[in-house]
Symmetry: C2
Subunit: 244 residues, 2 copies
């Protein structure tokens, strides 16, 4: 068995944010597996087979990648951002669990620039103090758990990076998120809406949470609710290092 499986992060969109480690893995691959819009980011070349797939088939896609690697292929599973943050790495290990004969496959996880880091950098330094990251999609967890985490995160005065804040099929969750945070006393916190970060369509908006409206976010938006000490300087937003 000489195949390999590499789980790689393509970063938020800009080519200049793809690490050389990931570029090298893509250059050595025989097969690229992933959600179609991410696979499309890999330039085609002779000897490289692209395997684009639909959304919400992560486990099948992971199983297919493992099967190809077990047959001796050099497979790269691509995610946007970092593969370990709400992306394909967990799905691959879940698929691996069910097939013990594949446990010895050479697997590597290559980190990438996850959306919250790029969004934070574009706005200043809102993650300069303690923070948390919450996936607002309730496809894979019960909504009450999300609400509980939001309340505890507000109580901890964490900056809160929100992945997948809003989609056409879940329009109401983000409105409830804003309402919960207002109830939790966060109305005066700064909120960053960072859409399509590092792409030509990038748009950064900052408002106070009391003025934030659900329609400011869509599935291409990273929302960062800053901690209570975060302030503005010029066009920037930053979390002071010192908290008394």
């Amino acid at each position: 068995m000489t195949g390999t499986l590499t789980i790689a992060g393509l970063g938020p969109g800009d080519e200049a944010l793809i690490t050389p480690e990931v570029s090298a893995a893509l250059g050595n691959a025989t097969d690229i597996v992933g959600y179609a819009p991410y696979v499309t980011r890999v330039p085609p070349r002779d000897g490289l087979t692209l395997h684009p797939s639909d959304n919400r088939v992560e486990l099948q896609r992971a199983g297919e990648a493992l099967r190809l690697a077990s047959e001796g292929r050099h497979v790269v599973v691509v995610s946007s951002g970092d593969p370990g943050v709400f992306a394909m790495a967990s799905a691959v290990f879940e698929a691996l669990e069910s097939v013990p004969q594949w446990h010895d496959l050479p697997i590597r996880v290559l980190p990438g620039i996850t959306a919250m880091l790029a969004a934070a950098a574009s706005a200043g330094a809102p993650l300069g103090h303690d923070f948390c990251a919450i996936n607002l999609s309730d496809n894979l967890k019960p909504w009450p758990l999300i609400e509980q985490r939001l309340r505890l995160a507000a109580g901890a005065d964490f900056a809160i990076a929100m992945y997948n804040p809003r989609s056409a099929s879940r329009p109401e969750g983000f409105a409830r998120t804003l309402a919960i945070l207002r109830e939790a006393g966060c109305s005066e916190r700064i909120v960053i809406f960072a859409r399509a970060v590092s792409t030509p369509e990038q748009r950064i908006e900052t408002v106070l949470l009391r003025d934030a409206r659900p329609e400011m976010a869509d599935m291409r938006t990273m929302v960062i609710v800053c901690n209570s000490t975060t302030r503005r300087v010029g066009r920037w937003v930053y979390a002071p290092r010192q908290v008394r």
Copy 2:
């Protein structure tokens, strides 16, 4: 005024984890400012002045960088990891706040692979579900706030990435951290000790929290306390995507 200030992340140590965006900025710089061990990572060349400084002088260093940029230099402030996560970006904006005439300086923040992403990738996918990042140093915040955040993070069942877990001057904080998490019911959670990730000295250890000892961590260690659903497959540790 034609100077520029760029705040760049060098990633956790391996050159292959430095983004091309950061490499380009280093290549165009006239001045590199930062903590000495990070400045040392930038190869010297003609026309480039290195300004290494000591630890714990972040604000002076930031002010010096802004002054150089205001004089027309192309300054890159370097941090390891991501500059926005417990690193120099917040210090630069803090220094900027006190000098209004510098508010229009062209500033860019360039994200990097922060230690927790590299540590997570080396161990599997422990950050595949909701998580938080806490700096365990109490140099810049009161220790009781750290304790409160640990308890709330445990209650939220976040994976907890711990930066600066332990230093010679603060040997006791991490021992208390482990005790607090045991009291909070986390004894059966998996803990990852990831030391010097992506360098030749890399060492990854995983144990249950009940078996974790304070001396397993030092200042070069990233500690990730996994969430309660995280499990092992082969040599890997991963957070399942689905939580019921």
